[in-house]
């Protein structure tokens, strides 16, 4: 399987572009792959490392940033 098939760059970038052109119209929609999802993904990745270091122990995944 091509590695490229697994990437979602195109859908993410097109979603961003659609938001960009409506930004000046006052839309409040965030990109589907916005910064909060991105931050939560980092939290999940590194929490998995923590769990692995503890031989698979359950660990908290500190997600939940919100925007004021």
């Amino acid at each position: 399987m091509s590695k490229g098939f697994l990437r979602t760059d195109y859908t993410d970038i097109e979603d961003y572009c659609q938001i960009h052109i409506t930004f000046e119209d006052g839309t409040d929609r965030q990109p589907k792959s916005g910064m909060l999802v991105a931050s939560d993904t980092v939290a999940a990745l590194y929490a998995a490392y923590v769990s692995a270091e503890r031989r698979g122990a359950e660990v908290d995944v500190p997600i939940g940033l919100t925007l004021e």
Binding site: S39, T41, V50, T66, E68
Partner: protein, 150 residues
Amino acid sequence: MQKPIWVGIVGCGNAAVFHYASFLRVTGIPVEVVGVTSLQKARHEEFAVRRGIRTIDTLADLLSEVEVVDNCTPGYAHEPVSIAALDAGKHVIVEKPFTGYYGPPGAEAFEGNRFPKQTMLTRALSISGRVIAAAPSALAPTRSRAPRPS
């Protein structure tokens, strides 16, 4: 006619290749990749020539010409490049993963597999927070559902 979204790419590795191809596929919305900049001068020259776009010498020069910065740098550079772009009032796209912990500055011998993972988690999330906090003040982040790890 709608004006194009002017994009500048920072970095010229695989992520830049995929992102550039993705911008070309966007339909119904005019998008123009203005140019590319990178610390890898020889590689970014080749990247630009193959795609018929401009090489731009520095990030500062690129920031003066674009609306959107596509941050395709290695993970350790996501924070400084993104914050510089946000401080300049630009929109930013960041290659995944958004951030991470890659050791102290200049620590070329850093080995993540030998470093305490809880510390890496805490520091990676601190970096995420700093990048998000650099976004416009109306989007200031708060953590509401779960506390950060101690």
